[in-house]
């Protein structure tokens, strides 16, 4: 049983992935957590023993309805997403957790930046359906290099 955390501000996405992991056989292999804000996500990482994080990059600090999704705010929120990634990779307690970026930001710069900060994979959200995301998850968790000392098999 692996613990997966998805951090995304789009309720539709969160709901869809929650649904996807709520049926067998995924239900038996994974424990799925959803977080809509950075704060929420950080809490879960600290509270639960998370094996893998699916991270969107454009993330509000605290949850706001989409009304504020203007470009400036998105720029700011993007920084929050990157900050969280950096933070998790810096913290000794969390740096071993593999992080897959699941974002609709498709710019090459953003991808390079994320990989540079220590993301394991960069997946463009609209290009994949949940089953494909699962394949990536399995590959990351199955690969020996991705295992760290901290990771314990449940």
């Amino acid at each position: 049983m692996k613990t997966i955390l998805l951090i995304d501000d789009d309720k539709g996405i969160l709901e869809m992935y929650a649904t996807y992991f709520s049926i067998p056989p995924r239900k038996d292999n994974y424990q799925f957590f959803a977080a809509a804000t950075i704060e929420e996500g950080r809490d879960i990482v600290k509270r639960e023993k998370v094996d893998l994080v699916l991270l969107d990059l454009i993330l509000p600090k605290i949850f706001e309805p989409k009304s504020t999704a203007d470009i400036q705010k998105e720029e700011k929120n993007k920084e929050y997403g990157f900050n969280l990634l950096a933070e998790l990779k810096k913290d000794a307690a969390t740096q071993g957790i593999p992080i897959i970026i699941l974002s609709n930001l498709s710019g090459a710069q953003d991808q390079e930046r994320a990989m540079g900060l220590g993301a394991k994979e960069y997946v463009i959200k609209s290009n994949v359906v949940p089953s494909q995301v699962l394949t990536v998850i399995e590959r990351v968790l199955g690969a020996p290099a991705s295992s760290t000392d901290q990771k314990t098999v449940v």
Binding site: G12, I23, A69, D70, Q72, S126, V129
Partner: protein, 728 residues
């Protein structure tokens, strides 16, 4: 030999030499020929006079006296002919001249008859003085007439002439008057008045005066170029006469020229001559330079050099300096000024350089345009003298005043000469010259030289001006190129900025587009894999609903994007017509009715009694209103959305008020910022694309209206108001 015979001999020799000289110098010219003829008649008369004086018996004396009269008869006739020719008055006096020659021929005939001279009788010391016959009296009257008339002509001409011609006539006239007066002393004895012909020697005065006019003023265009020749001739004469005088004194008083005592005297005398020779030579040179030749030939040389140098100077100011300095130095003046037109086409003159004149004084000459017009018309240098003579004539009143003013001006600033600078018939400037050192008049030769200099200077000035223009053009061109390069660079930066904004915009928009697409694809996978069957029916319906919402959102995004693009590109055309805002609100609400009912939101709209009719584009206005109501609905979880229409003067105000979440100060400010990175405006209104309010604002502004947002803070509701002019 009597004094009278000697005087006659001198007269004969000098007038012959003068006549020959004039003829030889330019025998092609009529004036010279006539003057020579006149001289020869004088010489003939004087020669016969001499022979008559030395005759020792009555028959030959009578012969020579008759022959001398033949010369005397023609002196005034040739004089008249010469004067008429010199003054170019031949045409008006043809008859007079013919009458003169007829007169001469008649009396030449009578001359050898007893009617003219009856006999020779002793009078005073003269043993053979002629007795007048009947014809003689008539002749004398005619003779005086033909002498006086041309003299009057000369005098009149002298009064109106200027410059060098005036000087020439002056000396000619003086010489003639003195000569004739002297010659006339012969007539007294004819009428038994006991006055001997003492003035006879004065006839030579005319030779001296004419020679002076020739040497100094190039009378009859005779240029005596050799100053040295002149000096050496005089020195030779001096030495010769000194030797001759010495020799004659010695022979007369001491006896033998070669006697020992004479030799001592001769040695002493020689030493005296040798010592005085140097002094006299210096004196002669000085006198000839000062009084006769002046610096004329030096001028000629220097001014020519200056003219050549001018062509090599290309800087206007330097050129003017050179002209000024050159004239000052060459002509030894104290005052020179150069006035030039501002530009070739301008009528405004500026002082380019003054030396000796006061600046204000210089410009006072051209304060009125009289001088410039005058110069443009006359096209010759203007002498102050000339104005004085003009003023002596009768002139129309206003012209007189103008010339008087000009003359006074020139006198006041002590300007002697205005030298016009012409370029292609147009006056370009004036060189103003002060008086010459010693107050001498400007000679014609100097004026000619100065004119040549002026024309060279004009060309050089024109060149310098052209050069200046080209320099200016160059500089302007350089500046223009710089400016345009800068403009292009600026444009480039702007375009780059725009491109960045566009790509940023596309980036964000593609992100926006991907979000609903993700959900859409993810959810559809449940159907594809058949897993949907695992969910309860409600869950399935919910998922289907979400798929539908996602497609709607995609559709809305595409619509907004395209509209925004149109607005950006300026391809936005409104078709104005009468629009009732109430109708628009109703139609918009009809579309959104379901959403309201689903959420249990109250929609309030009380169309006012006044009709909300304005001129506008219904399609776009509906988009705005619909957008505003939809936004209000979306961000109002519960409560109401109210639309109010109000007429205010010539404007209609539509307000969408909600009891929703409100809007923060920070967001409010960003709401209407311009659409660009860093200060991206407009967009920010919530419909997911962030473009709704941007589009709304563009449409309202296209209707010359305003859009504003009011909110007392978060959770306190929002009011968006649009103000539209009723008539565009």
């Amino acid at each position: 030999m009597s004094v009278y015979a000697a005087a006659a001999l001198v007269n004969a020799i000098t007038s012959s030499i003068l006549g020959l000289f004039v003829l030889v110098r330019n025998k092609e010219v009529k004036v010279n020929q006539l003057f020579a003829l006149f001289c020869f008649s004088v010489a003939f008369w004087s020669g016969c006079y001499y022979l008559w004086q030395v005759a020792d018996e009555a028959t030959s004396a009578l012969f020579w006296s008759r022959l001398l009269m033949a010369g005397a008869i023609f002196i005034p006739i040739f004089y008249l002919h010469f004067v008429l020719n010199l003054l170019e008055k031949l045409k008006d006096h043809k008859l007079l001249l013919v009458s003169g020659y007829v007169f001469g021929l008649i009396f030449l005939f009578f001359d050898f008859t007893p009617f003219f001279i009856t006999d020779v009788v002793p009078k005073l010391s003269f043993p053979f003085w002629p007795e007048p016959g009947i014809a003689y009296h008539i002749f004398l009257a005619g003779w005086f007439f033909y002498v006086v008339y041309p003299t009057i002509l000369l005098y009149r001409s002298y009064k109106v002439s200027i410059g060098i011609k005036r000087q020439q006539i002056r000396y000619l006239l003086t010489g003639m008057i003195i000569g004739y007066l002297g010659g006339s002393t012969n007539y007294f004895l004819w009428y038994d008045i006991p006055i001997p012909p003492i003035g006879n020697i004065l006839v030579s005065i005319f030779v001296i005066c004419t020679t002076y006019a020739i040497v100094k003023y190039r009378f009859m265009d005779i240029h005596v170029l050799e100053k040295n020749l002149f000096v050496y001739t005089l020195l030779t004469l001096y030495m010769f006469s000194a030797f001759y005088a010495g020799a004659s004194i010695f022979t007369q008083y001491i006896g033998d020229l070669f006697a020992p005592q004479t030799l001592i005297a001769e040695v002493l005398l020689t030493i005296f001559f040798v010592v005085t020779f140097v002094k006299i030579s210096e004196q002669l040179t000085e006198v000839s330079e000062k009084r006769l030749f002046g610096n004329f030939f030096q001028y000629q040389h220097r001014l020519r050099e200056l003219s050549q140098e001018l062509t090599s100077v290309i800087d206007l100011q330097a050129l003017v300096e050179k002209i000024t300095a050159g004239i000052l130095e060459t002509m030894r003046l104290e005052r020179v000024g150069v006035l030039l037109k501002d530009s070739e086409t301008s009528d405004h003159y500026k002082i380019k350089k003054v030396v000796g004149f006061h600046e204000d004084n210089g410009i006072s000459l051209v304060r009125d345009s009289f001088l410039t017009k005058y110069l443009e018309e006359k096209r010759t240098p203007l002498l102050y003298e000339e104005l004085e003579f003009i003023l002596k004539d009768s002139l129309p009143g206003d012209q007189r005043t103008q010339i008087e003013t000009l003359a006074n001006n020139m006198k006041h600033i002590e300007a002697e000469l205005c030298l016009p600078l012409f370029l292609q018939k147009k006056l370009q400037g004036i060189i103003v010259l002060g008086p010459k050192a010693g107050g001498e008049a400007y000679s014609q030769g100097e004026l000619d030289l100065l004119e040549t200099l002026a024309s060279q200077a004009s060309v050089a000035i024109e060149n310098a001006r052209l050069y200046e223009t080209i320099q200016d053009l160059n500089q302007n061109l350089e500046k223009k190129v710089k400016d345009q390069t800068k403009a292009i660079e600026d444009q480039n930066i702007k375009l780059k900025g725009l491109l960045e904004i566009k790509s940023e915009f596309l980036h964000i928009v593609s992100h926006q587009l991907r979000t609903p697409l993700t959900t859409l694809r993810g959810l559809l996978e449940f159907w594809k894999s058949g897993e949907y069957a695992l969910f309860p029916v409600e869950k399935q319906k919910e998922m289907q609903e979400r798929i539908f919402i996602s497609t709607e959102r995609l559709n809305q995004l595409i619509h907004d994007m395209l509209t925004a693009m149109d607005l950006e590109g300026g391809a936005f055309h409104f078709t104005f017509e009468r629009v009732d805002l109430s109708d628009i609100v109703h139609a918009a609400y009809e579309e959104l009715k379901d959403d309201f009912e689903k959420k249990g939101l109250e929609f309030r709209f009380n169309p006012s009694q006044e009709q909300g009719v304005i001129m506008g584009d219904p399609r776009y206005l509906r988009e705005v209103v619909s957008n505003l109501i939809d936004n209000a609905q979306k961000y109002t979880p519960h409560g109401f959305v109210e639309v109010r229409i109000e007429k205010q003067a010539d404007h209609m105000i539509l307000r969408v008020v909600d009891s929703g979440m409100g809007i923060s100060e920070e967001d409010k400010q960003r709401l209407f910022q311009k659409f660009s990175r860093g200060s991206r405006a407009e967009e920010a209104f919530p419909n997911g694309s962030g473009l709704g309010l941007y589009i709304a604002k563009q449409i309202i502004e296209g209707h010359k209206g305003n859009i504003d947002v009011f909110s007392e803070g978060q959770g306190k509701g929002t009011t968006i108001s649009i103000t539209l002019p009723i008539i565009q």
